[in-house]
């Protein structure tokens, strides 16, 4: 990938190509919207207004973006080491167990301690779920993509089993835990602002967003400024080179995937501890898969991931508003747009590149003549 990026200046590679790919995905979505008899422009307006037009909208947008920052970072960390972790979804789902453990069984502790425990446990559970595929890939050469897909399904079976048989209160029918005690949840940004004397609109945006930004910075430092990050990138760039340099390839593979799983596990902080205040079925709701698109669009850089995550968050929130406004359109349109973005920004990534490179070459040649 990096060999071909040489055809373009870096800013074109990181800015123009993603924007063009995004435009293509939106164009295709526009066609679908037009086909069901709505005006794509009007819908785009509703979505933008819904996502950014009010304090509440922005709150929701950032709330959803938090999920995507975690899963995008998770996927990117593994990708730096050349590992395709499609199992972030399952790792995030299992991470929910860690949060539930902290919030349900340690509720007698003060809030900051519970929050710390939840961070530790969700990371530990997510990392543990990544460990087996990681070990099998590193030691026995199992195909990582297939093992992690299988582990997503196993995670889903495990969670149904645990929720139905152990975690749900005996009197309840719904497969979900009881609601966490107020001190076992993450404070909402709005409450914190209220405490500081600032009034902002009601939304589920909570401290997990701040933690996500801290993680983004942390991952950036780790990957670009530490020895471990250097080794991970070497492994990703060339496995033989890493082996030749005497790097512990097996250990690096396992570390990369467990880090990825831990970051994925943090998704539960936002969804389970920050907003719903209970563990419930399928709370990971595909965020793990969209994280792949977020990481690819963000070029695996933390800043890019945060921006791409905000974009996907806006799509989520705007889509909800759109479904509310237009009876013909359902929230499924958001899933469709996401799929199209994954296609254009991920799989068709190389489609527009040669044309853009040619344009650049042409303008450079013109510049030299003049």
């Amino acid at each position: 990938m990096s060999a071909r990026a040489g055809d373009l200046p870096w800013w074109a590679d990181r800015l123009i190509i993603p924007v063009l790919n995004l435009a293509l995905a939106f164009l295709a979505s526009g066609v679908v919207i037009w086909a069901i008899g709505e005006s794509p422009l009007e819908c785009a307006q509703i979505m933008v207004a819904g996502a950014f037009g009010s304090g509440q909208g922005i709150g929701y947008t950032l709330f959803y973006a938090t999920n995507f920052i975690f899963t995008g970072l998770a996927f990117a960390v593994a990708l730096h080491a050349g590992l395709f972790n499609i199992g972030v979804e399952g790792q995030a789902y299992i991470g929910g167990l860690g949060v539930a453990l902290a919030s349900l069984y340690f509720e007698f502790l003060p809030q900051p301690v519970i929050i710390l425990l939840a961070i530790l446990f969700s990371a530990a559970f997510g990392a543990a779920w990544a460990f087996i595929p990681a070990y099998l890939q590193a030691k026995r050469g199992s195909h990582l993509v297939i093992t992690t897909i299988m582990f997503n399904f196993i995670a889903s079976a495990v969670m149904v089993y645990l929720l139905v048989n152990f975690l749900k209160p005996a009197a309840s029918m719904a497969p979900e835990t009881r609601t966490f005690a107020p001190n076992a949840t993450l404070p909402q940004i709005q409450q914190i602002a209220h405490g500081l004397g600032v009034e902002i609109a009601q939304s589920p945006l909570n401290l997990a967003f701040v933690w996500a930004l801290i993680c983004a910075v942390g991952v950036s430092v780790l990957i670009w400024r530490t020895r471990l990050g250097y080794e991970l990138r070497t492994l990703g760039a060339s496995r033989p080179a890493a082996i030749y340099a005497g790097m512990p390839v097996v250990r690096l593979t396992i570390i990369a995937l467990m880090l990825s799983g831990a970051l994925g596990g943090f998704l539960a902080l936002n969804e389970v501890m920050g907003s719903q205040n209970r563990l419930f079925l399928d709370f990971s709701g595909g965020y793990g898969f969209v994280g792949i698109a977020v990481a690819l669009m963000g070029r695996s850089r933390s800043l890019g991931i945060v921006l791409a995550a905000i974009l996907f968050g806006a799509l989520y929130q705007g889509g909800a508003e759109l479904a509310f406004d237009k009876p013909a359109i359902t929230r499924d349109i958001v899933v469709l747009v996401q799929g199209l973005v994954i296609l254009t920004a991920g799989a068709l990534e190389n489609m527009l590149r040669p044309s853009v490179a040619r344009l650049f070459a042409m303008s450079a040649a013109l510049g030299q003549e003049a």
């Binding site: 679908v32 099998l136 582990f151």
Partner: protein, 323 residues
């Protein structure tokens, strides 16, 4: 005698449940043997199931439904091919995109078109593939064992079921006894060598991807217009991934693929049957445990704990003619 009936029922439902897996698994076999990984089996099945349900209901014919299913699925397969063969995109990302697009598209278009929350209308008798009784099944039903197996287990399925099992020897023959099959496998193992021998890698891979699309079309159509009477939201529910597991489990071979699909179908049938009923001596087995078995088995196989599964060598790698 009563438990014999139960066994017969479980085996008959094993066959029914393994059919969509078998179609999808064979579909994946064509694609992956040519070097194109396909985790988008699920999405293609879903779009096919929706198209079949919608068109069978609108056109009042299961055959039109089947045609639409195959058409839609092939269109998605070509999209995958366009991304990964023509533009050398990442095969996993493309497959994932197709799965996500299929979920969104079927639900959005379905709820707009039929206004039933994403379902297609309930199909009438003549709009779906009905069970056919094999010749002589009624006459033989009284014959112990042989007749019972024939009448209760093998007879009484839809045409698509028999077609699915017929596809197993056909696929074996096509892949291992024809020139087309040899070339298809060659571009999946060593595309550069096949290219040198004058085989167009691009064309072979497109052909394989189209075969995959056709069979996924059958898989989806079976779900919505043979097994059930209409499409429901997300009705594939991971079957495409179980088929993928079966493909790995069968080590990318057609006849073992049938075995793997029947095994996974049996697990599913047993899970449905056992829902909450205790087994003497063991107690209640959690349904989720049985559901997780195919995935766990596949992981164990991939790890080399039970045999060794070696994927096609060039799988997942886009072919670049020259640098």
């Amino acid at each position: 005698m009563e438990y014999l009936d139960t066994i017969a029922q479980v085996l008959a439902s094993t066959i029914r449940l393994s059919v969509p897996l078998l179609f999808a698994c064979l579909a994946g076999l064509y694609s992956e043997r040519s070097g194109v990984f396909d985790i988008g089996l699920e999405g293609k099945m879903l779009i096919a199931a929706f198209s079949a349900g919608a068109i069978a209901s609108v056109g009042h014919s299961p055959w039109l439904g089947l045609l639409a299913a195959v058409g839609a699925s092939v269109a998605f397969a070509l999209l995958h091919g366009f991304a990964v063969i023509t533009h050398r995109g990442d095969q996993i990302v493309s497959g994932l995109a197709i799965n996500v697009i299929a979920v969104g598209l079927t639900a959005q278009v379905g709820s707009f078109w039929f206004e039933q929350g994403g379902q297609t209308p309930q199909l009438e008798q003549g709009e779906r593939f009905l069970e056919v009784t094999l010749p002589g099944a009624d006459a033989l039903a009284a014959v112990p064992v042989v007749g019972q197996v024939y009448a209760q287990i093998l007879s009484g399925h839809s045409v698509l079921v028999y077609f699915a099992f017929a596809m197993v020897p056909i696929t074996w023959y096509v892949l291992f006894r024809t020139r087309f099959g040899l070339r298809l496998r060659a571009v999946g193992e060593n595309p550069a060598a096949a290219d040198t021998a004058g085989v167009s890698v691009t064309r072979m891979r497109y052909a394989a991807v189209v075969c995959c699309g056709v069979l996924c079309g059958f898989a989806g159509a079976y779900l919505s217009i043979a097994q059930s009477a209409g499409f429901t939201r997300n009705m594939t529910a991971g079957k495409g991934f179980i088929a993928l597991a079966a493909l790995v489990f069968a080590k990318w071979q057609p006849v073992p693929a049938m075995g793997a699909c029947l095994l996974f179908g049996l697990l599913d049938a047993v899970a449905i049957r056992l829902q909450g009923t205790p087994i003497p001596g063991i107690g209640v087995v959690p349904v989720q445990l049985i559901q997780a078995v195919p995935y766990a088995l596949t992981v164990a196989l991939l790890a080399g704990f039970i045999g060794r599964a070696t994927p096609p060598k060039a799988g997942g790698v886009p072919y670049v003619k020259e640098r």
